[in-house]
């Protein structure tokens, strides 16, 4: 990966592609790359949908190599949802394809002219941009069919659905998986709207004729990667829980812990949780002939995904994630896995973040648009979003805007972004991450649930305010570094608990690039990324007033533990004290 591809959609005549060397971006990958480019090149005060914003797509440093579980791809920009810097990352086959083609980043920039839609084809021969107005308002699955028919299923499609075309604040960028299904999404923060604002409907990335990225030190790499995989297999979460049940293994765990937000964050435990748990889901998948264990890209040692089929064995969607099952299920009082799977499919189809969409529907239910528990109503609402009806325009703008339109206080958001599936009152470490992350409420930015609930990487009482800021800080730093590598965040379970697995990961990177990074260097990289992001956000107008949960989380106690969010503000303000 030694080059950057720029697509200037405002070039005279028609969009133009140029390839340039890495220059000052050498050494950056994934989130470090997207953050560096956005921080350097995008004016912090610009409008996210205006000509000055840029969309940066960057595989991780290890993507395209044989490193296990390193298929993450980052999408960065100024976020239409939060107004701050954004990195959303995705699995699927895109990181590997771009990595093998040698592109450390694709930067889509400039002022769109007219309303033509474009396709960017990237292959070993170069880059070809073509007008594809025939794909206008085509949802992702339909688009995938057309692209597969045209280019085969060995390529990767990176696309926006109708939500991205309509420049909705909730809109994703989809990445196809190994079956060429658009099931993997850079979900959060409305990155799809930025792609839509540039008029780019899709990238087709064809790695044919390329080779896997070669390590600088092949033997050392092979050995390090072997140990790394061993470590993943040995850990209970990455070796057993995730492969068997997927992320949805968390439903029963969080429900038991009383940190499972239900009815728009009114209660912390859901009486029907067992019906939609990972265990129930895996059993149903297997019984119907789906798959309970499946990887989103080749070379994954964890295989947390699966395939959800209907009662007749027909494909519905990939195995819905815990966050999705919660957002559309428990949070909305819906406990029917088939409806949840349908909602998951529709989100992927239209290009919508399942967390933002589910939380938005929860807010709409609080507003009385449809009742809590109304699965058919929820499905109808997602169709409205995908079709851009007036109601869909409200909901497609996200939970914060939906609450504004309906005059409600109770929007569970930070910096305009919906909270994920952990109530911050009963899992206070993740509350600190929600409050302070540069990304808005985001569990992946510093997954304190690991230590609060799963007791990975230590044990910090989830119900007490003590030590949560330190926990969140350390995890945010580590995550920012990890997000640069292309390694999946799920490796964190193993590397937090097993020092030798962490070392194997560092050794893999060193062997790949001929470096001699230490653990301290990893921390320094994470801190550097976070500092760039904080500085961008400060210039965009964020202050410590934005590093807060909505006030009602400090006022309304959550059952069953009767707790509020009580981490002192001074501690929140200490998270970035490095």
């Amino acid at each position: 990966m030694d080059k950057i591809l720029r697509i200037d959609v405002g070039a005279p005549g028609s969009p133009k592609a140029t390839v340039e060397p890495l220059g000052s971006y050498a050494g950056f990958g994934g989130r470090a790359m997207t953050t560096a480019v956005v921080a350097n090149e995008v004016p912090a005060d610009c409008h996210p949908l205006g000509p000055e914003n840029k969309l940066v797509i960057a595989p991780g440093l290890m993507s395209g190599s044989a490193a296990s579980s390193s298929g993450r791809i980052s999408m960065g920009c100024k976020s239409p949802l939060t107004g701050g810097i954004k990195e959303a990352n995705s699995g699927g086959t895109g990181a590997q394809a771009l990595g093998r083609l040698g592109y450390a980043a694709v930067i889509i920039e400039g002022a769109r002219k007219g309303d033509d839609l474009y396709q960017v084809l990237i292959n070993a021969q170069g880059v070809t941009i073509s007008t594809v107005n025939e794909y206008r308002m085509l949802p992702n699955y339909d688009l995938a069919e057309k692209i597969k028919a045209k280019y085969g299923d060995h390529v990767t499609m990176i696309s926006i659905g109708t939500a991205g075309e309509m420049r909705m604040s909730n809109s994703t960028i989809a990445v196809t998986d190994v079956e060429f299904r658009p099931t993997r999404h850079a979900g959060r923060g409305g990155v799809g709207a930025v792609m839509g604002s540039k008029g780019v409907k899709l990238l087709v990335v064809d790695p044919e004729g390329t080779k896997i990225c070669q390590p600088a030190k092949p033997e050392a790499f092979k050995e390090a990667n072997r140990k790394f995989v061993e470590g993943l297999k040995a850990h209970a979460v990455t070796g057993q829980g995730l492969p068997a049940y997927g992320t949805n293994v968390l439903t029963n765990v969080l429900n038991e812990a009383g940190g499972y937000p239900t009815y728009n964050f009114r209660e912390g435990r859901y009486k029907h949780a067992a019906d939609i748990s990972g265990e129930a889901q895996a059993e149903l998948e297997v019984k119907r002939g789906g798959l309970a264990t499946h990887g989103c890209h080749r070379g994954c040692a964890i295989q947390c995904s699966g395939t959800f089929v209907d009662k007749d064995g027909n494909y519905v969607t990939k195995q819905p994630e815990y966050e999705t099952v919660w957002a559309h299920g428990g949070n909305c009082g819906i406990h029917d896995l088939d409806s949840i799977a349908k909602l998951d499919f529709l989100d992927d189809h239209y290009g919508l973040d399942t967390i933002e969409m589910g939380v938005t529907i929860g807010v709409a239910m609080e507003a009385g648009v449809v009742p809590f528990g109304d699965a058919e109503g929820a499905i109808k609402l997602v169709h409205e979003v995908g079709q851009g009806t007036p109601m869909g325009r409200i909901l497609g703008a996200g939970a914060a805007t939906t609450a504004r339109c309906f005059g409600l206080e109770r929007a569970p958001v930070v910096k305009g972004q919906a909270m994920p599936a952990y109530d911050p009152r009963a899992v206070k470490g993740i509350g600190v991450t929600y409050a302070t992350s540069t990304m808005g409420a985001d569990h992946t930015a510093g997954y304190a649930v690991a230590t609060n609930i799963l007791k990975v990487g230590g044990d910090v009482d989830p119900l007490k305010p003590q030590n949560q800021a330190e926990l969140s800080r350390n995890l945010q730093v580590a995550t920012a570094a990890l997000d640069a590598t292309g390694y999946c965040l799920f490796v964190a379970f193993a590397i937090l608990d097993q020092p030798e697995t962490f070392q194997a990961m560092v050794d893999s990177i060193n062997a790949m690039y001929g470096l001699s990074m230490t653990a301290a260097d990893v921390v320094a990289l994470g801190q550097k990324v976070l500092k760039m992001e904080r500085e961008f956000n400060a210039k965009a107008g964020f202050t410590k007033a934005h590093d807060r949960l909505p006030r009602y989380f400090t006022r309304e106690p959550l059952s069953p533990h009767n707790v509020t969010f009580d981490v002192p503000e001074e501690e929140l303000d200490s998270v970035f004290n490095f």
Copy 2:
């Protein structure tokens, strides 16, 4: 005015009224009062629709006295539209009624229980709170009929329409005029939603049995007031232009100056401006048997209003203001005074700010919801807002939210509030006020148009960036002081140009209260108010990044002068350097 009335809507059992002495709020009136109470009592980080916010209603210092043109009443809170502190003020008979009853402020506070609607009756006998669910979703004119029938037309009704009940970010608090019509509104910033969030549908203020507020020095007061009125009559704007044509006298002036924003701020001159000018409007009013000159409250020496009747002589609405005619007219490509009058009526009826509503429709037209120039379409949209359809929920949330829902950059807003009828590129002084005001884009916060265009109070070239920051600063300080007095902002034309009229105003206040304020004291008061507001906003998360116009105003040149907004950012940041 020696007491404060507090209505605690969350009191045990039912809402409770308590009367207390002024205490530390002694000496404050109007905006100084609302700002002091909000800054002292409302947590800056609270949700505007949450229990911690308060609505403060305060007549000006001179309200209830015989001081001419002193009938302004201020409504303050944390704004649902901007998220910052808000003072919106209104004419009508409310300030005088409350002043005569001795109330320097009514503070509506606490956590609403259930969804009952309340009426607060304030008269010489005391305060009575009653449940009025029968008025639910009753628009203002219909409500006024019922209240008039019940209490007579000598009382004042202060009410919210359906928009306020639905807690829309664009929602006003209406104040009845001398004909008991709900034509006067505290329009900006969604103050109606805060009243709605407290469940208070209306206040009925009955001054029967009270006397006009007596000055400390009756003879000095009488003499000062006489000179003051003389000054108002002598000035061309307050003595001739406003009485003859109302505020809409500005249409031709601004259009000629090339600062009249049309088609959602795309151009600076409107070819049909003459059709909707104040001259055309006054001629039509008189021809049909309406009124071209009329005061919104008793004792006004300016009488800038009028009565608009249809072709059969039936009342339609009060004379639409320049801002309204522009927002619904020129900005939307509509040049039919009857349609504009109908829109003005509907805004008053549902309780909507005409500026925010017109600018929002302009944004919706840019989004293609209805075409520019479609008057029937615009009328239909306002009905949708008043009825709370999904489209109405979008538009009722204001121009910024509408742009967000439709994925548009071009929302002419600052701090989430729509710009009024002066393009900041061609009237740069008002651009500085829009950018830096504590209130969001607000012409009344520092009306640099006076000096840029009307050459009142000096002459600063509207097209050049020089000296605009100083102009705006001085006007913002003066306005903050004036807004405390209850005097109408329109007296500013006379007091800026005529030192003896300014002195007569100061003398009037001194004679009223037995003070010996100087001009310097007036400046100090204005600065104090602004500092309280800035501090509140800083705590709420506002930084200099929020003291900016949307970037496209610095990028897109405005015809006919081909100018962008080019006041340097350092100058914007110098506005509050006192």
